[in-house]
Amino acid sequence: MTDGPKAPRVGENAPEFLIETSAGRFPLHQLAARHEKLILTTQDSYRYHPN
């Protein structure tokens, strides 16, 4: 179970955020358009994974 707004479903647009790349800062949809697929992974803080 999660708090906050409902997670986007398969088939829905991914919520936007900005991504810094070596070629500049792009909105998510612009970066996605440059690739066949764009993978997003969220990880918890490194402070819980010192190794």
Binding site: M1, T2, D3, G4, P5, K6, A7, P8, R9, V10, G11, E12, N13, A14, P15, E16, F17, L18, I19, E20, T21, L28, H29, L31, A32, A33, R34, H35, E36, K37, L38, I39, L40, T41, T42, Q43, D44, S45, Y46, R47, Y48, H49, N51
Partner: protein, 130 residues
């Protein structure tokens, strides 16, 4: 997870995809972690979500703290060029489950990844074999 994805990032690019890692750590913490562990920066894209804004909008905040600490779900999302979600996994167990990890590579039509066990798994394997 960082070690596996670092190792397999070239395969992801070769498949025409790219990878963005998001975590509540700052960019400075992310870089420090990489330099400490790998003596080089991690190759994939990184977004700091220290405000938890992304986590809120993607529904990734735990209601109860994880046993190892933290309130942030590990997750995997694959988007098509229209930025539509074509696959999602919450929580994503790719760090501890090789099948979950390899599914990512199947979904992007890539050759298999070279999954590396997390420290915890390595420790349990040591116990089983000793």
């Amino acid at each position: 997870m960082a070690a596996s994805l670092k190792q397999d990032y070239a395969k992801i690019l070769k498949a025409g995809a790219d990878l963005v890692m998001i975590s509540p750590d700052s960019l400075e913490e992310h870089r420090k972690y990489a330099l400490t562990l790998f003596r080089e920066e991690l190759p994939y894209l990184y977004v700091s979500d220290s405000s938890l804004d992304i986590a809120q909008r993607y529904g990734l905040i735990r209601t109860e703290e994880h046993p190892h600490g933290g309130f942030y779900y590990r997750s995997l999302w694959i988007l098509n060029p229209d930025a539509r979600v074509i696959y999602k996994s919450i929580p994503w167990e790719g760090n501890s489950n090789v099948e979950e990890y390899q599914k990512l590579f199947k979904l992007i039509d890539s050759e298999p990844g070279e999954w590396r066990a997390t420290c915890g798994v390595r420790e349990s394997q040591k116990l089983q074999t000793s």
